[in-house]
Symmetry: C2
């Protein structure tokens, strides 16, 4: 099948129908998109790679999950600022052989995600390539001055995480081990294939001025916590027993998965000591757990269930450390 770039853009444009298009003056098909920010708001900008072989396996991951997840990953960064997603740009490079069924399924997952997150496809770029390459730029908004940064944590702040850590990594393990077809609605696979960015929670933490610092967990707690601490110039002490892990019967090493598993897209945030009581145990069904405390200095300590203390070692996913 031969397709021109223009025909392909038409296909993407059709996938746009039904999206939340408020504020979008001009969408696909021109040189650029035009977007109007609400008065009193700042624009959030973030982009994310999603590459075959690096971030997903074309023969293992369903195309509609690739469509969903490429947007969910980018939108999760908007959640981590306490913002609301508005629109996104999609850059896709793909082989000729993917232009039929694969692309239709990809677009169906993408459209579902765009609706769920209230984020309209505003434009993008397409080209041909042997491997499927995806880059998503997500654009969001947050009330001016209310964006929650990584740099706001202070000694004495309590450290929280949302959800259960390590589920997505366990899902990936199952996908790698699987012989036959996968049940996409298996709860562990769902977290890996169709992650739900914590948008409502992130916005609430920002609006209620509860979070002093926040980020999303994409590379694993042991890699991401050091980033929050470095940005805030502080250290942290966390208790393994308090980390919400998988039940042991789910397989794998629950603590190792929780510390080093990537792709969870849960939120990691800090709260001033005097506001800790205002943090509920769960928010719209998502559990919130206090896992430790921000400390003076720059050390990162992990207290094990047996009382021993060790230094937290970054063992999460880093593409430049992978070999």
């Amino acid at each position: 099948m031969k397709t021109s770039e223009d025909a392909l853009i038409q296909k993407f444009r059709r996938a746009q129908a039904g999206d939340a298009r408020r504020q979008l003056q001009l969408g696909m098909g021109d040189d650029a998109a035009l977007f109007i920010t609400k008065r009193g708001y700042e624009t959030i900008l973030t982009c994310d790679w999603f590459l075959e072989g690096t971030h997903f396996l074309r023969d293992r991951h369903p195309a509609d999950s690739i469509g969903w997840k490429c947007l969910a990953r980018a939108v999760s960064d908007v959640a981590a600022m306490g913002g609301e997603p508005r629109c996104f740009l999609l850059s896709v490079a793909l082989p000729e052989s993917c232009i039929g069924k694969w692309l239709d399924e990809f677009l169906s997952g993408l459209r579902r995600a765009a609706r769920r997150f209230g984020c309209a496809l505003a434009g993008g770029d397409t080209t041909r390539r042997r491997d499927v390459l995806i880059n998503v730029t997500a654009v969001g908004e947050v009330r001016a001055g209310r964006g929650v940064l990584r740099s706001g944590a202070r000694p004495g702040d309590a450290l929280f995480v949302t959800g259960r850590l390590g589920e997505a990594q366990r899902g990936l393990q199952l996908i790698r081990q699987a012989k036959g077809r996968l049940r996409k609605n298996h709860p562990l696979l769902k977290k890996h294939l169709y992650p739900e960015p914590r948008l409502a929670l992130g916005q609430w933490l920002s609006e209620a001025r509860l979070a002093s610092a926040m980020m999303d967990l994409s590379d694993g707690l042991s890699s991401d916590l050091p980033r929050l601490c470095a940005a805030s110039k502080v250290g942290a002490k966390i208790e393994a027993a308090r980390i919400p892990t998988l039940a042991p019967e789910r397989g794998g090493d629950p603590l190792e998965l929780a510390l080093n598993g990537g792709d969870d897209y849960e939120l990691l945030f800090t709260v001033r000591r005097d506001k800790v009581g205002d943090v509920p145990r769960s928010f719209q069904g998502v559990p919130l757990a206090k896992i430790g405390t921000i400390i003076d200095g720059r050390s990162l300590q992990l207290m094990l269930p047996d009382g021993r203390e060790e230094t937290l070692v970054a063992g999460g996913w880093d593409p430049f450390r992978a070999t």
Copy 2:
């Protein structure tokens, strides 16, 4: 050499110094960037692939040209809306072997371009990959309602192009044929390696309300003109003799290069009949040429120098037609 992703981000962050950072509340190092749009302005959003093997050859193109051009290409779309660039997001995937000298040169070209275009590096994403993959999202601004779209051309409008068409393609031919080292300041190579988006001109055409429709020429006139006409639901008639081509002694077929050569990043725009007299012959040294007229219907006609008329056939660069 082993590098962590965080160390690499530091390297990019250092390359940021000296950039135009007005309006940027928060740059690299957090989950996302925060950007404040000026009141009464709309935000322009555009993204572009720049991929090894597809858009450049790592063994032929100097790394600093790759840094310059990846931003120039994206910023050219901002110029084509009549806007002013503000900031950009940079996604780079690259092999370990590129992290030293190659990356330094790439960042030096990128920094030069960022200064020239007044466009600050606001964030991005890095990962490792066998080939160098680049995606740039450029963010600009234009006074509300003044963005010049592709869809505003009407029958009777005059059709203009800036600069000389086909130079960049001829530069690419010379690079492909070259045996030894290239003289980067050779005028034809310069256009191919370090294109200058027509920012001042685009802004002026928007502010002066001269352009009724506009786009940039990235894939060649014969591919891009049909896009402008399709968006405006009109046809066009152009005269080969009026198209600003290369002098024949530069080699290649000047008309073929001008019609089908890509990467020129000149502007193609239309002007209402009664305003044609207001268009100068050149603007800040860039020549402006009237090459034809917008017509009723959807046909695209090319009048040859000998008076024969033929249908314009899209022969420009289309990644999905390339084989």
